[in-house]
């Protein structure tokens, strides 16, 4: 690891990654207590991608992604209170309790949603970027998706359109090696170098370590800079690992417990922490302070969600139409 970022920035990356990690752990607990229901997909292990990416964006850039969306939403600035309230189905949640874990949205932060049909967000990303181009704005759209999504027609249709129309979409593939229980080696031709598929659509693509927040941030920063100049699409494949099961319902029978270790996967939060300690960028006291701040924010979020009212029945009829 190396970095040209200053102390505040590094500490902020650490704080945000930890915030997402603790948020997800709290979700896991609330799920076990029956307070979060339905499908719950945790982002644990992939925090560096969201945090490194969002830090390279402007607030007005669009972000859209899939149902594993808590980390994306929080890194894009969604308040952890309203995210947690949404997960608990409360009236104070981002969608008043109607969207749930897989469908977080925050229009003010230009977080255009978690989308739960695999690859369904990709054509929409093209449309967001089309609007920016149409209005001659230099905003870009980051589209997150998983290794499972690349086998849908919508992936290919979107890459092609973005390329021939020169749309400012940054395709950000989170290759965590699995789509549910199916390893990429069994579902995708060239599943460990999917970025090469972008070349078939004349889209520049790279592969990077998605478990390294500094590398992530540097790569996205460079990429975004060049996109603002030429307006065209780019493709980044962030290699990563999903520490937990696909969802809370997944007993993970299809992989060995120590697979992450075997693969030499390093926890992104631990890595950054060790880096900062090694180079004496922060000391234990400062880390403890960050930890305490994060713990407090998460317990406030949980408290807020638990104390919030459930939606009134009429909410179910609201916003079917404009």
């Amino acid at each position: 690891m190396e970095s040209t970022l200053n102390k505040q920035q590094l500490a902020e990356f650490y704080r945000q990654m930890l915030l997402i990690r603790r948020f997800e752990e709290a979700c896991g607990r609330l799920y076990m207590q029956g307070k979060i229901r339905g499908f719950l997909h945790l982002y644990i292990g992939e925090e560096a991608i969201a945090v490194g990416t969002m830090a390279a964006l402007r607030p007005d850039d669009y972000v859209i992604g899939h149902y594993r969306d808590h980390g994306h939403a929080i890194a894009k600035g969604m308040d952890t209170k309203i995210a947690m309230a949404e997960l608990c189905g409360k009236a104070t949640g981002s969608s008043g309790g109607k969207g749930g874990s897989m469908h977080l949205f925050d229009s003010k932060k230009h977080f255009m949603g978690g989308h739960a049909i695999v690859a369904g967000q990709m054509p929409i990303a093209a449309g967001l970027a089309l609007a920016s181009k149409y209005r001659k704005e230099d905003r870009i759209t980051v589209c997150f998706f998983g290794d499972g999504a690349v086998n849908q027609g919508e992936f290919h249709e979107t890459l092609n359109l973005a390329s021939v129309w020169k749309l400012p979409v940054l395709f950000l593939l989170e290759n965590n090696l699995y789509g549910m229980g199916t390893h990429v080696d069994r579902s995708r031709a060239g599943g460990r170098h999917i970025y090469e598929a972008a070349a078939a659509y004349d889209i520049p693509g790279v592969q990077i370590n998605g478990m390294d927040v500094l590398g992530m941030n540097e790569c996205v920063s460079e990429t975004v800079k060049s996109m603002r100049k030429d307006g065209g699409p780019r493709f980044i494949e962030a290699m990563c690992y999903r520490y937990r099961g696909h969802s809370m319902a997944d007993p993970t029978m299809y992989r060995e417990r120590d697979e992450a270790e075997e693969l030499g996967i390093k926890d992104p939060i631990e890595s950054l922490k060790n880096f900062m300690l090694q180079f004496e960028i922060v000391d234990d006291g400062e880390l403890a302070e960050i930890n305490a701040k994060v713990e407090a924010e998460i317990s406030d979020a949980v408290q807020f969600a638990e104390d919030s009212p459930t939606p009134d029945l009429d909410a179910m009829y609201r916003n079917v139409y404009a």
Partner: protein
Amino acid sequence: MAEMILREAVAKGLREALEDDRVFIMGEDIGAYGGAYAVTRGFLDEFGPERVMDTPISESVIVGAGVGSALAGLKPIVELMTINFSLVAIDQIVNHAAKLRYMSDGQFTVPLVIRTVTGGGGQLAATHSQSFENWYASVPGLKVVVPATPYDALGLFRTAMKDGNPILFAEHSLLYGMRGDVPDDWYEIPFGKADIKRSGDDVTIVAYSRMTHIALQAAAMLEERGRQAEVIDLRTLRPWDKDTVLQSVRKTNRVVVVEETWRTGGFSGEVASTIQEEAFDDLDGPVARVGGVDVPAPYNGMLEAATIPTAERVLQALNDSYGI
């Protein structure tokens, strides 16, 4: 006679089907993962990866490859993880699977069974809680099967495997744990033959899939009020058994049709209009319909529950139409 849950009944049907070496199963996470709803748990070890194939997340080619291998003489069973994702494959289902026999004037047939999971009630929110059986039931060339019990699931599945046409076989996610008796001796259940799950003279309740059980609950509540309801489970939507329904209506003169999908455009509209066309004079009042509330499924459990038909709503609808 053996008691089993619906999940086991479907698995039994699949195992029997796999005795024919033209049959194979493919779908997302049906092998190593064991199936999103655990129906095919253990199948990969039992039958091997050439008969039980994990596919990429590519519904269109899952169904399309099913169509192609069926054209070439195999008998594929494809699994779409849920009916919500069938929309990604709807072109292959509606424009291809359902049309090839007709357009080739019988030169080709598509003996394809598409198993999928339908229904809401699991707090999975708007994209993951839908029931589209009624949509598919409007397509000539397809057959649509909607079992409500383990017995029906197995008997209908056996028929599906013999039928020789493209079939949408929709299992309700909340019924997988439902228990019921299944005979040891071989039996089949023909398509287009409804089942009278309970007989009665006072009122007819027509339902299918999970709503059959809501209908039975409503019937039990009616009994407490001294009314005997006849509960008819359609079991298949295309073809559907209008004779059994009409016969019952002629006896009871009162009928309510119940289904989980949105009321607007629901299959109950088809049933209701058939009843009024063919048994108008037998009716004591308008055909009652109970369907899902016309909103996308909300995540919150209380709101979601309010969108799905209940026995109370069935009784209310009967009261509105017939004052009982």
